[in-house]
Amino acid sequence: MSLIIETKDVNLYYGDFHALKGISMEMQPNTVTAFIGPSGCGKSTYLRLFNRMNDLIDAVKITGTINIDGKNVYEKGVDIVELRRKVGMVFQKPNPFPKTIFENIAYGLRVNGVGDKHFIEDRVERSLKQAALWEEVKDKLKKSAFELSGGQQQRLCIARALAIEPTILLMDEPASALDPISTSKIEELIHELKKNYTILIVTHNMQQAARVSDATAFFYLGNLVEFGTTKDIFTHPNDIKTQNYITGRFG
C-alpha cells in the first residue's frame, strides 16, 4: 500500500540561487520522517518536490531523480494531477476554502470526478473521524469552515487531504501556527496516521521532531548534513553542526 520514496542527487535552483545541493535520501513506508534545519535551509523546498508544488514557481530548475515506488515523478508525461492525488499535503498556515466544512472535504473528491452523493457523505465522515474532528463538527457541517478555530481548521485540512486517499502525506510545519493543545492533537494524529500513510514532515520544533518521527534529516544551507534514525540524530549526532542545531546553539 505505502511506497518507498527516494531521491538521488537532487539539485534545485531558483534562478541563480542553488537551493538544494545534491540531496540523496530514502524514506521507508509507514514511517514519519522529519526534516529539520534553520530557516532557508531548503527543507520546505525539498518537501515540495514530492507533489511538484515547486512547479508553480517561475524560474525553478530541478535536476536529479525523485522516485516514488520506483517511478521518477519528474519524468516527462507524468500526470501531475494524479501524482498530487497520491501525495497529499498539509500546509503551514491552515488554508480551508471559503466553503462549508462539508464542501471543504468534498472538494478533493469532486475535482477528481466523484459525484455519488452517498459515497461523498461517507467519505467526509470517515475523513473527519480520521482527523479526530468529527465529534466537534458533526452538527455543523453546513457551517463555514472559517468559523472553526485555527487548530480545528488545520485538522480540517488534514481531513481534506485524507479524503482523496493519498498514500503519502507531506506536512509543512503543520503545527507552527497553533496553540500547544492543538499542537499535541496534531501530533497524536500523526502517530495514528503513520499506520496507513508514509509521512514527511517539516518542523522547526526540535521536541516535535523527536516526539513524532522515526527518522530525521538535518538540512543546512541547501545541504543534507545528516540523516538517520531520530534516536541516533538526537542522542549522538555525527556532525558538529547537527549537534549545535539540536541543542539550540544556533538556528
Binding site: 494531477v81 500546509f91 488554508n95 471559503p98 472538494y107 475535482v111 482523496i164
Partner: protein, 292 residues
C-alpha cells in the same frame, strides 16, 4: 527651561495649524460635492414629473420628457457591460493566473494602462471608424456599446487583476495539492473568492459608461429621436448627449434650460442608484462566498 517650553508651544501651534489646513481642504471637497448636488437638485427638481420621466421630448425639446434618453443610456450601459465584462475578466484571468513573468506580460500590462489614458473622444473616433464604417453597423446601439466597452475595458481588467492578486496563494496551493487542475482551481476557488471585488470594477465602469458623451457622439447618440429602438442596429438618445444638445444647440437653449437641469438630476440619480445596487450585490456575494 522657558526656551524649551516656548519651542514646545510653537510645535503645538504648528501642529494645530497643519491640522486646520487639512481639515479645511477635506471639508472643501465635501462642500463642493454638496454644492453641485444642491444646485442640480434645486434647479432640476422643478421639472421632474411622471411625464418628464416617461414622456417623449416635445416642441423642439423644450417641453415633454426624456424617456428615450433614459432608455438609451440604460441600453448602452447593459450593452457595454455585456462586452467588457467577459473580455475584461477573461483577459485578467489569463494575465494573472496563466502567464509567467516575462517581457510579454509586462508589455500587455503597460498597454492596458496606456489604454486607460487615451482620451474618450479618441475612442469615439476609433469606434466610428471601426464599428460604424468598417464593420458597417452604422450609428447604432451595438456600435456605441462596443465603443463604450472598449473605453471601460482597462478599468475592468485592472480591478479584476487586483481582485485575483488579493487571493492568497495558499488557497491555490491547497486546491492543487488535492489534485485539482488549474481550471478547476480558478473556477471553484479563486473566482468565487475574487467575485465581490470584481463587481467593484463593474460599478466603476457603469458610472463611467452612463456619463460619457464623447464616445457615443459619433457612434450611437441621436440628436432628436422621439421613439424607442427596435433592434441593436437602431440609434438611441442618451442622457449625457441629450444634456449637451439642449444646453448648447437645441432649438431654444434658454427655454430648455430647466429640462437640462432635470436631465442632469436624472443622470446623477441613475449613477447613484446603480452604485447602491452594485454595493448591495457585492455585500451579498461576499457573504455568500464564506457560506458556499
Amino acid at each position: 527651561m522657558s526656551n524649551s517650553k516656548n519651542t514646545g508651544r510653537i510645535k503645538h501651534l504648528k501642529q494645530q495649524f497643519a491640522f486646520g489646513i487639512f481639515r479645511l481642504f477635506s471639508l472643501m471637497v465635501v462642500a463642493i460635492l454638496f454644492f453641485i448636488l444642491a444646485f442640480i437638485i434645486v434647479r432640476g427638481a422643478k421639472v421632474i414629473s411622471w411625464n418628464f420621466l416617461t414622456g417623449m421630448p416635445e416642441e423642439g425639446m423644450t417641453k415633454g420628457g426624456i424617456f428615450p434618453a433614459i432608455v438609451g443610456t440604460f441600453l448602452l450601459v447593459i450593452g457595454s457591460l455585456l462586452f467588457t465584462f467577459p473580455v475584461g475578466v477573461l483577459s485578467a484571468i489569463y494575465t494573472n493566473e496563466y502567464m509567467k513573468d516575462s517581457w510579454y506580460k509586462r508589455f500587455i500590462k503597460l498597454m492596458t494602462n496606456n489604454l486607460a489614458g487615451i482620451p474618450s473622444i479618441v475612442f469615439g473616433l476609433f469606434g466610428m471608424s471601426l464599428f460604424v464604417n468598417t464593420l458597417g453597423f452604422g450609428d447604432s446601439i451595438i456600435a456605441g456599446s462596443l465603443t463604450l466597452g472598449l473605453l471601460t475595458l482597462p478599468v475592468v481588467i485592472r480591478t479584476t487583476e487586483e481582485a485575483l492578486k488579493s487571493i492568497d496563494n495558499s488557497f491555490r496551493e491547497g486546491s492543487y495539492a488535492l489534485g485539482a487542475t488549474k481550471l478547476q482551481t480558478i473556477r471553484k476557488v479563486v473566482l468565487p473568492m475574487a467575485f465581490p471585488n470584481i463587481i467593484t470594477g463593474l460599478i466603476l465602469s457603469v458610472g463611467r459608461v452612463s456619463g460619457e458623451t464623447a464616445p457615443i457622439l459619433f457612434t450611437v447618440a441621436a440628436y432628436f429621436l422621439p421613439k424607442l429602438p427596435h433592434s441593436i442596429f437602431d440609434q438611441v438618445m442618451a442622457l449625457p448627449y441629450h444634456l449637451y444638445v439642449i444646453s448648447t444647440s437645441g432649438t431654444n437653449v434658454e427655454e430648455s434650460r430647466p429640462m437640462a437641469y432635470g436631465t442632469a438630476l436624472v443622470l446623477i440619480a441613475i449613477v447613484l442608484l446603480v452604485n447602491i445596487l452594485a454595493n448591495a450585490l457585492r455585500r451579498y456575494f461576499s457573504k455568500k462566498v464564506k457560506m458556499n
